[in-house]
Each structure stands twice: as structure tokens, then as C-alpha cells.
Symmetry: none
Subunit: 136 residues, 2 copies
Amino acid sequence: MTNTDQPTDQAGLRPTKQRLAVASALAETEGFQSAQEIHDLLGRRGDSVGLATVYRTLQRLAEAGDVDMMRTEDGEAIYRRCSDSHHHHLVCRTCGRTVEVEGPAVERWTSAMAAEHGYADVSHTLEIFGTCRDCQ
Amino acid sequence: MTNTDQPTDQAGLRPTKQRLAVASALAETEGFQSAQEIHDLLGRRGDSVGLATVYRTLQRLAEAGDVDMMRTEDGEAIYRRCSDSHHHHLVCRTCGRTVEVEGPAVERWTSAMAAEHGYADVSHTLEIFGTCRDCQ
DNA sequence: CCATGTTTGACAACGATTCTCATTGCGAGT
DNA sequence: ACTCGCAATGAGAATCGTTGTCAAACATGG
């Protein structure tokens, strides 16, 4: 348990060909992609990487905070390169339209609440559901 | 579209024994439960209902807006009856210990945020994860 | 160049959810 | 009350994303 020396890109992992391939797939895409999509993309491109390896790598990167992971409506995990600020989703119950919102107040409140009860290493999820203008 | 005769509980569906059982399981529980938990609960209680039926019923209720559905961190779908009391959960990642917390500030913030984007009929879910004092 | 602990990949195992389809039962019409 | 049609059910198979297994391929420090 000696590390946290390797800072950015490769959360202290060996820079293997496969990991670099996954990283580059993430780097060259804007939005969220599923593990399988990344696996397919790499295969198509020639840098074939085992599916299990893609999953493992994405997990590591997510743990290390190098990528954001969220879930589609049907439970599939999707990833995108991080660095983006933490935000929440405002989702329309009817058409699914989503707006990303941020709120320092909420971040502060959750931390305070956790601290008050002695919880450390806090994270949270917040989803807001409503009916958007067009669906009312 | 003639209805609202069958008011609340049963979104216009036939009030079968099974659907009533699922509805009651939701009614008597505060928080979120997975389909399987509901299935188990009903089984234990004697009102055995097929697992597929539990899934189907929950889907219908969710579509009808009678229950809220969200996803756990590992992608499992969990449900709770709609318009639940306004409290949130502070969950220990390690031992699972849960504290219920309330926050008018958050309620206000989510409403404001929704209003700002033109969303009506707002609800939200907030879960805080951390490591509790005993598990640190 | 060698030893050693990592990482990989093919495939099996898993768990949640959905599908299939024969059977059941609600409820409208007579 | 009796019957008929169609929605609803349940048991198990089928899907699908994801994780586990384990021997073989590797990277890195000595």
C-alpha cells in the first residue's frame, strides 16, 4: 500500500498496450460509451483488447477518478473521460429529456450532513425527476 | 381516455390479487426496494407472486407514475411508492448502516432548479454514501 | 538475462431482467 | 348465473451486461 505517486492519466497502473488503447478510445470520444462499445471500437480499429480487460480497465479508471461512470436508463454502465465537474441530472419523466445541473449548496450540505454523523469519504447521487415544459 | 374512476393505487389496471399484493408491499415500506426483495417479501408473507409478475407490475406502476424507479450503484433497479416522505439516506459503504437525514435546503434547491428549467411536478432522490465511524 | 508479481484473454459463471407460452380468472354481455 | 374473450399469471428458458477463473504472456527491477 505504497503509492499515489503516479498522478494523472494512468492511476498508477502499468501503461500496457491495452490500457493505452482504452484510454485513447475514451480520449477521442466526447460523450458516454459503454464498455462494449469501447470494446467494439477497439476491435474495429485493430487494437483488439479482451472484453474482460476493457471492463477491468474502466473500473480501475473509474475508481481512480479518471473517468466518470453513470448508468443508462436500462442499467448499463457508461463511461466518459472525466475532468468534468460533478453534476446532477434533471430528468423528464415523460420524454426523458435530461438537463445537467450543478449545485455547490448541495455538495456542501451532503458533506456537512455526513460529517455530522461521522461518515467519511463521502460521495452522493442526486437525481431530480419532473415533467419538462414540452410534456406538460 | 375515460378514467380516473380507478383512482390512486391501480393505474387503471385490473386489480388482481397479485397487483394488490405488490402495491401493498410498496405501501408498507419506506424506502427503495428491488423487485426481488419485493418478491421475497411477498413469498415470506404468504402472498406468493411470480417473479415475472412482480417485474411486470413494477414496470407498469413506474410507467404510470405511481412509483419512482432508480438504480443502485451496481445497476439494480429499485422502486418506492411515489411522493414518499422527504428524507434521504446516508449509507455506509462498508457495513451498510443507514441514517435517515432531512434537508429543507435540498428540497428547496431541487424545486428551484427544476423550476428554472421549466420542469413541473418535481420529485427527487438523493443518496449519500460514506464510511461510517466504526468502519474507518 | 532472470525472477517475480502483473496483466491479459478466452470462456465459464452469474445475476438481473425479459420473453415465451400454456393456463387461469376477471368481468362484460346475455 | 353462465359463457366467452382477453388480459394476467407463473415457471422456466433465454438474454445480456458484467464478473470470476486460471494458465499463459509480460513488464520491470535486480
